[in-house]
């Protein structure tokens, strides 16, 4: 006989999530549903009719943990629609701004999971200080390169609004060294704490496929070629069933008719042959990603030309073509789509990382006691405010099928 366990709101994650878990007599989850309760602010609807310049400004405000991924994917979607791309230094600075953000956002997840793995208050406090010190460095990089740490105004259609000074370049390089020293201590500390915990082996392991477009930055051409032709979606009332789905605030995006996992493990699986499975494997993958991003930021800073041009002005204002911008956000593949005509947005759609992960999180909780469900969720580090963005309205009409031949079609599993 099955019982239903509801966990709402979930805690120690961004935004408001809910678990609806069907469990057997021992409390083992037989069917796991995870959904977003974050109210739909309706960005894509209010972007229609606005100047294309507003798209990265507004979509940055999908999320305050990872604003650069949205401003970047948005800028690239618009650029893709109107046919402009940034000069090389602009792309480097854009990636650097994102990396600065990742170097705050990935460590942030450790603050959220700390109480699960570290029980001694003294050790918790020391770890918190180390994490905050790293986050300060990451946010500072984002702030210098992007103009502000939270909602970077220098991420623009056509590139980056400003270059940094030579003195700033050197300062940021020094700060990365400092970051490295702290991470040298914090990474083994976290890995040991997780290994020493009583998390059951295999927690969160699943057979769902994974999606990633790049090891670090994100590539829209990979998305267009490998995933978009097999893309479909379902409304929550269809996916979860009416009584659960009625309050869900995200639609269910799918590849080949099934949910996919995105994020650190997916990226390392696809591009580095990482084969560990389960929720803890995602945590370990995320630690590896911090190291990789720190090194990549160093690489960029060392070769950055601080006098080069960083932005290209558009030469056309768009003729309504679909543009896709894809960025590998900390939590996974983030897809923005824009249709731009005469400099104005005529359609917009976004499938952020956590929108992809949301159905995967529910499924990953299956097979273990429900008390572990939030441990699984926190491994995905869901950012639920991001997830709640989707529209299938364009110019007031429900679009059932893309006219773009490279696209897939809606509404079919």
């Amino acid at each position: 006989m099955t019982e239903r366990v509801v966990i709402a709101p979930t805690t120690r994650n961004e935004g408001h999530g809910k678990f609806v878990l069907e469990v057997d007599e021992e409390g083992i989850v037989t069917k796991g549903h995870f959904l977003s309760l974050v109210i739909v602010r309706g960005f894509e609807k209010f972007l229609v009719g606005r100047a294309m310049e507003f798209a990265p400004v507004a979509t940055s405000r999908f999320c305050g943990l990872c604003p650069p991924t949205h401003a970047t994917a948005s800028s690239e979607a618009v650029e893709n629609s109107i046919g402009v791309s940034p000069p090389p230094t602009g792309t480097m600075l854009r990636e650097l701004c994102n990396l600065g953000n990742h170097l705050h956002d990935h460590p942030l997840q450790q603050i959220l999971i700390l109480p699960d793995f570290v029980k001694d208050p003294g050790e918790q406090k020391e770890a918190l200080i180390r994490i905050q010190k790293m986050r300060k460095i990451g946010q500072n990089i984002c702030e210098v390169v992007g103009g502000e740490a939270i909602h970077s105004p220098y991420i623009r259609v056509g590139g980056m609004a400003r270059n940094i000074s030579e003195a700033a370049r050197h300062k940021l390089l020094d700060s990365l060294s400092a970051f490295g020293k702290i991470w040298e201590e914090q990474r083994p500390f976290m890995e040991k704490a997780i290994e020493a915990s009583d998390v059951p082996a295999g927690l969160g392991a699943h057979d769902m496929p994974m999606m990633a477009t790049d090891l670090i930055y994100g590539r829209s051409d990979v998305f267009r070629r490998e995933y978009y032709p097999c893309y479909s979606e379902m409304l929550p009332v269809q996916y979860y069933g009416e009584d659960i789905g009625v309050e869900a605030c995200t639609i269910i995006p799918m590849i080949n008719g099934a949910p996919v996992e995105v994020g650190p493990r997916a990226r390392l699986w696809k591009y580095m042959g990482y084969r560990e499975r389960g929720a803890m494997a995602i945590n370990f993958a995320r630690f590896a990603e911090i190291t990789m991003r720190m090194n990549r930021a160093r690489c960029i800073l060392e070769s950055l030309n601080t006098t080069a041009r960083t932005i290209n002005r558009p030469v056309t204002n768009g003729s309504g073509k679909l543009g896709i911008g894809v960025n590998e956000a900390p939590r996974g593949t983030n897809v923005h789509m824009a249709w731009v005509e005469d400099g104005r947005i005529t359609g917009y759609k976004a499938m952020p990382a956590t929108m992809w992960s949301t159905p995967a999180i529910g499924r990953s909780a299956e097979g273990f006691h429900h008390r572990w469900a939030q441990w699984v969720m926190r491994a995905y580090d869901p950012c639920i405010s991001c997830a709640t963005h989707y529209i299938i309205l364009r110019e007031g009409r429900v679009v059932e099928r893309y006219s773009d031949r490279e696209g897939g079609s809606y509404g079919q599993a």
């Binding site: 709101p9 805690t11 120690r12 994650n13 961004e14 935004g15 408001h16 974050v38 109210i39 739909v40 602010r41 309706g42 960005f43 894509e44 209010f46 606005r50 100047a51 310049e53 507003f54 400004v57 507004a58 405000r61 999908f62 999320c63 305050g64 943990l65 604003p67 942030l108 603050i111 959220l112 109480p115 406090k125 918190l128 905050q132 010190k133 986050r135 300060k136 946010q139 103009g147 502000e148 740490a149 939270i150 909602h151 105004p153 220098y154 609004a161 409304l235 929550p236 009332v237 789905g245 869900a248 605030c249 995200t250 639609i251 950012c383 405010s385 989707y390 529209i391 299938i392 309205l393």
Partner: protein, 232 residues
């Protein structure tokens, strides 16, 4: 007597204000010592909003969501002092643009500044406001520094805002002196200062209210400035 009790309620918003709060970095530990954190779902496992002395609310309630309206009302009822932390709660900011129509909840439409529904004791506009503001407000509350707090309900603070406020309330009242602080305060760089006056790019303005709040002519914290001069 124990420490004042603190809660942080996150409503509809991007969480940038939560991150700004956390971006007090090591000082966060000091803040957790100054007040007793009872509820903050991003950091702690408490799920019910308790009775507290001071609550920070970020984001706005959605008029079409019973649960969020309830949460806002409960927070107001349970707290002695309510701080509208950040743009979305103080001035609606990006939520001003929401119009509904989006799957899967197309009826979600209206996210007004929370002062439309509950009494606010302090407004902190900005998208997001500087992290230092959170530290200063908590510090002022604990020390009973009403001088610092009182300016956060100055005339024109909170409620629907826009770059237009500079035109209607500052330039239109012959108060503008071309200092450039509004442009400085703008998080999206929507304001430039050609010929010494703000020019607002309405394609970038997110209606956060930081420009008006930062303007030296909206309010002038004289007693605090005097205090500052003693300390420098």
């Amino acid at each position: 007597m124990g420490r004042p009790e603190f809660a942080y309620l996150h409503l509809s918003a991007c969480s940038g204000c939560e991150i700004s709060f956390l971006d007090n970095y090591e000082r966060l530990i000091e803040m957790m010592d100054m007040v007793d954190f009872k509820y903050m779902t991003i950091l702690m496992d408490a799920t019910e909003i308790p009775e507290v002395d001071i609550v920070f609310i970020d984001g706005a309630a959605c008029l079409q969501s019973k649960e969020s309206m309830e949460a806002l009302r409960t927070a107001r009822k349970n707290a002695r002092y309510l701080v509208a932390w950040g743009g979305c709660s103080s001035t609606a900011t990006i939520n001003s643009f929401s119009r509904g129509g989006q799957m899967p909840q197309p009826q979600h439409e209206s996210f007004p500044a929370i002062s439309k529904l509950v009494k606010v004791d302090a407004f902190v506009p900005g998208c997001p406001p500087g992290p230092e503001m959170a530290y200063r407000i908590i510090n002022a509350f604990v020390k009973g520094d009403t001088d610092y707090l009182k300016y956060l309900t100055s005339e024109g603070m909170g409620g629907f805002s826009c770059g237009c406020d500079l035109l209607s309330r500052i330039i239109g009242n012959s108060l503008c002196i071309g200092c450039g602080t509004c442009a400085f305060s703008c998080p999206t760089r929507a304001i430039t200062m050609p010929l010494g006056r703000p020019s607002i790019n309405w394609d970038r303005c997110v209606k956060c209210g930081a420009c008006y709040a930062g303007c030296p002519r909206s309010f002038q914290p004289l007693d605090l400035m005097n205090r500052m001069m003693e300390e420098l």
